[in-house]
């Protein structure tokens, strides 16, 4: 059964998310020491509640957890035919795909998080909506934008699940309009950065320069693009995706649908898992969805091998 590893993005982090990893596992020990070397801080100080409130540390912790979690899967002989990272998850996906070194990924994510945090200090945010198909949502957003400060479609996660970014005042007004149109759910997220929209253009341009200075390797595993919803198979296009996506809509529904159409029926979400598994389960009811946190490595390994015989 063709398999994809899914790497979660911001929102999936939680305090003490790195605490459970045992240093007796050589994968963990290597990643931790590499991270401490680059960051100059002990791992145990990264995933505190206070620090995770910052975009920088949330993104760094997601990168570390994603890479460890995927390497543990690979060490059990579980093969990925594709890697797909949601937002910052794309950096861990690029590391596992062999495009980016872990050290380079840490530096890029550190810069990315810092720039994002500094770009819009307050008054901006993101609104998650559930229940409308895209054309209907788009129509309401277009109407809204004629009379309010412009908001942007930042994530298309499933056929009826999207995220919109912009000024909080405008987002609140939009939430009201969507509720009166009968939407199931419109909820402001606890995020202060309006990600994945043109408001991040400056961050994107800065990242472009950083990526240009790196040595990228040709991928060993095809990679799902955030900004185009395509499967990418060259270092150049994956490098572009890493800087473009911060200022473009995340086409997660397209990317995951494309790999489903390409024959993927096993979706494994690496740690900290939950969000992407839930989305995949709603989009692809006939696929086998596995989640590293709710099913331990042995269980995932057994389920995956079992799926091979289907």
């Amino acid at each position: 059964m063709k398999t994809v590893f899914l790497f979660p993005g911001q929102g999936s982090q939680h305090p003490r998310m790195l605490k459970d990893y045992s240093l007796t596992d050589s994968i963990v020990a290597n990643i931790f020491s590499e991270a401490e070397l680059v960051l100059g801080e002990p791992i145990k100080t990264l995933d505190t509640k206070e620090r995770l409130a910052s975009t920088v540390f949330a993104q760094i912790c997601l990168l570390i957890a994603g890479v460890i979690s995927a390497r543990r899967l690979l060490s059990r002989g579980i093969k990925a035919d594709y890697v797909a990272g949601h937002s910052v998850g794309a950096f861990a996906a690029a590391v596992i795909g062999g495009v980016l070194s872990f050290t380079d990924a840490l530096k890029l994510v550190w810069d990315r998080g810092t720039l994002m945090e500094q770009a819009y200090p307050k008054g901006y945010g993101m609104l998650a909506v559930t229940g409308f198909q895209l054309p209907r949502l788009q129509q309401i957003v277009n109407q809204h934008n004629q009379h309010h400060s412009i908001v942007y479609l930042s994530n298309i996660n499933a056929a009826d699940q999207q995220v919109i970014a912009g000024e909080i005042v405008s987002l609140s007004a939009l939430a009201g309009a969507l509720e009166s149109a009968g939407i199931q759910k419109a909820q402001l997220l606890n995020l202060s950065v309006p990600s994945h929209c043109p408001l991040m253009q400056g961050v994107s341009t800065a990242l472009k320069d950083s990526v240009a200075g790196l040595k990228l390797n040709e991928p060993l595993i095809p990679y799902c693009s955030n900004y185009s919803g395509r499967i990418l198979t060259t270092a150049e296009t994956i490098g572009d995706d890493l800087w473009k996506s911060v200022a473009s809509t995340v086409k997660w529904f397209d990317a995951t649908t494309l790999i489903y159409e390409s024959g993927v029926r096993a979706f494994i979400e690496v740690s900290p898992s939950g969000v992407l598994s839930k989305i995949a389960a709603s989009s692809f009811p006939e696929a086998r969805i596995m989640s590293m946190d709710s099913q331990n490595l042995d269980t995932v390994s057994w389920l995956w091998r079992d799926s091979e015989t289907v």
Binding site: R136, A159, D160, D254, L258
Partner: protein
């Protein structure tokens, strides 16, 4: 000026076949030589039919085609009723094929849309099934056909069994115009159960490493049928089947029509309709039709294809199904499409969107899914002349030359998944046509072909409406709380009900509270197995008991 030869195609075929003589043992080719053989038998620019519909796939051959050297075989023009497998698009990514004529691409609808946008796939045309089959004999005549059969003998005769589907149509168009017919079979045997295709139509037989891919597409678990769908089913039986005496028909694939199939032996029986309606069908072997067959409702069923698990049941009911001397089902997709378009009195289906003029589409934004059988079945062939009660009952004028009409019925809940309205101001199909630069918007069934629309609110007899304005009002009257439904006034609705253009459940003698799951003749797949006397053997994913 006189031409020098009238046998160029035949000569070319002989030349190509001669190039693989060293690989052949009679008509039989070893599977490990398939790629080498394809590289000799296919030439750049060839028109190639690769068999694949919504159920049956020549999977071994499609994989082999992805492995040929694109330097030798390229610019192929593919003709396929369905783009279903990743292989089907991989051949375009690899530069082996360039252009495609097709009908349906549901399982690959996003990748198709992306590849068109990226210039990797050139769409020559998106056709209805019958247009595609017809064009195989006109201007899309194949140079090579790659098809699948269950069994072959060592002479090359084929047994295609219950899943005959479109194999004979493709082979006919190829073999009799000096094209090359290459067949993958599940096994080569000494004696075939019956001969579906004679050896003289076949050039190359290859025994595949695995049986061809086959999907159970028409199995609907009765457990999933809702009481709203049962209500719609009851209204459709009373307000359409009974009212117009409909005897010959086709059903779509959805749960709404599955509900009707399961209501015939219960609700239909209570109304005394057995033998009066729904006797002659063109339909795949739907497991949900088993109770109606077992209760004596159904006289005949002709099938487009088979259905996984229904083989033994169909074989045991030759009075109902078309079967061969060996006993097994014989299907034929092209003939069934002809029958479904031209020879039945009614099509009943469902849709995801309908606009105020009753145009309907299942197209979703950013996806290019093409069509299934609905555009053929769901339209009124205007030149038809017929004398069935249902056909004549749709005449609405006293003109001695007035024509009857085929019933084209759309049934659906006003909101799908409880939240997305089916009635819309504008179909998404229009935007999709713009995005994909299609010549026409991908409409599934045109509004002017639709005669009846049934929702949980009631039945709209739009064929009776006088002019566009009244048609819209009739649709609005059954559109519930969608934006289209909000336009109707109570005065207009009563007038439409008086004229018989709209009927609500109470007008049909139906109490909404009567629509209960207990009315279904089978409540789950296990019940269907019991009805069949154990002959129906559902695929494991439906065996949930």
């Amino acid at each position: 000026m006189s031409r020098t030869s009238w046998t160029t195609k035949r000569d070319e075929k002989n030349r190509r076949i001669k190039n693989i003589t060293h690989l052949m043992n009679g008509v039989i080719l070893k599977k490990e030589n398939i790629v080498e053989a394809l590289e000799s038998l296919l030439q750049p620019g060839d028109r190639v039919v690769l068999e694949g519909d919504n159920q049956k796939q020549a999977s071994f051959l499609s994989t082999a085609l992805t492995q040929v050297d694109a330097a030798k075989v390229n610019k192929l023009h593919m003709v396929m009723s369905s783009i279903s497998r990743p292989d089907h698009l991989d051949i375009f990514e690899k530069g082996i094929a360039q252009k495609i004529d097709f009908s349906f691409s549901g399982p690959q609808s996003l990748r198709v849309a992306q590849m068109i946008e990226d210039g990797k796939l050139e769409v020559a045309g998106i056709h209805t099934y019958l247009e595609l089959y017809g064009r195989l004999f006109i201007d899309l005549i194949p140079n090579v056909a790659l098809v699948a059969a269950d069994k072959a003998d060592r002479f090359g005769n084929l047994y295609t069994g219950p899943n005959t589907e479109e194999t004979p149509t493709i082979i006919e168009a190829t073999a009799f115009k000096d094209g090359i017919v290459i067949v993958q079979v599940n096994e080569i045997v000494d004696e075939l159960p019956r001969i579906d295709i004679p050896a003289s139509w076949v050039d190359v037989i290859v025994e595949a490493d695995q049986p061809y891919q086959l999907e159970a597409l028409f199995t609907r678990d009765p457990k999933m049928i809702t009481e709203l769908q049962i209500l719609i089913g009851m209204m459709t039986i009373r307000g359409v089947y009974e009212k117009h005496n409909v005897q010959s028909l086709n059903h779509g694939i959805g749960f709404n029509t599955a509900a009707i199939e399961l209501l015939l032996p219960t609700y239909g029986e209570k109304l005394g309709l057995k033998g009066k309606i729904a006797t002659n069908w063109v339909l795949n072997p739907h497991p949900t039709l088993i109770p109606a067959i077992e209760s004596g409702w159904v006289e005949t069923v002709h099938c487009f294809g088979g259905e996984v698990g229904m083989e033994a049941y169909c074989a045991a009911r030759p009075d109902i199904f078309f079967t061969g001397r060996d006993g097994s089902l014989r299907s034929n997709r092209a003939f069934a499409q002809v029958a479904g378009q031209y020879a039945v009195d009614m099509f009943v289906g469902s849709t995801l969107q309908m606009d105020r003029n009753a145009n309907s589409s299942t197209v979703v934004s950013g996806r290019l899914a093409g069509f299934g059988g609905a555009p053929n079945m769901g339209h009124d062939p205007h030149g038809r002349r017929h004398s069935s009660a249902a056909w004549l009952d749709l005449i609405t004028s006293d003109d001695p030359l007035a024509q009857g009409r085929k019933l084209v019925v759309q049934t659906f809940e006003t909101f799908q998944n409880g939240n997305t309205p089916v009635f819309v101001e504008t179909l998404d199909a229009i935007e999709v046509a713009k995005q994909a630069k299609l010549a026409t918007a991908p409409i599934m069934i045109y509004g002017n072909d639709v005669t009846h629309v049934v929702t949980e609110e009631g039945v709209a007899y739009i064929y009776k409406a006088d002019g566009e304005e009244e048609r819209r009002k009739a649709l609005s009257a059954i559109a519930g709380v969608t934006s289209v439904g909000m336009e109707s006034s109570s005065g207009a609705i009563s007038s439409l009900r008086e004229k018989g253009i709209v009927a609500y459940p109470e007008d049909l003698g139906i109490r909404r509270t009567d629509a209960k799951r207990s009315l279904l003749a089978a409540k789950n797949v296990q019940d269907l197995v019991e009805w069949s006397g154990g002959l129906y053997n559902p695929p494991s994913r439906f065996k949930n008991w």
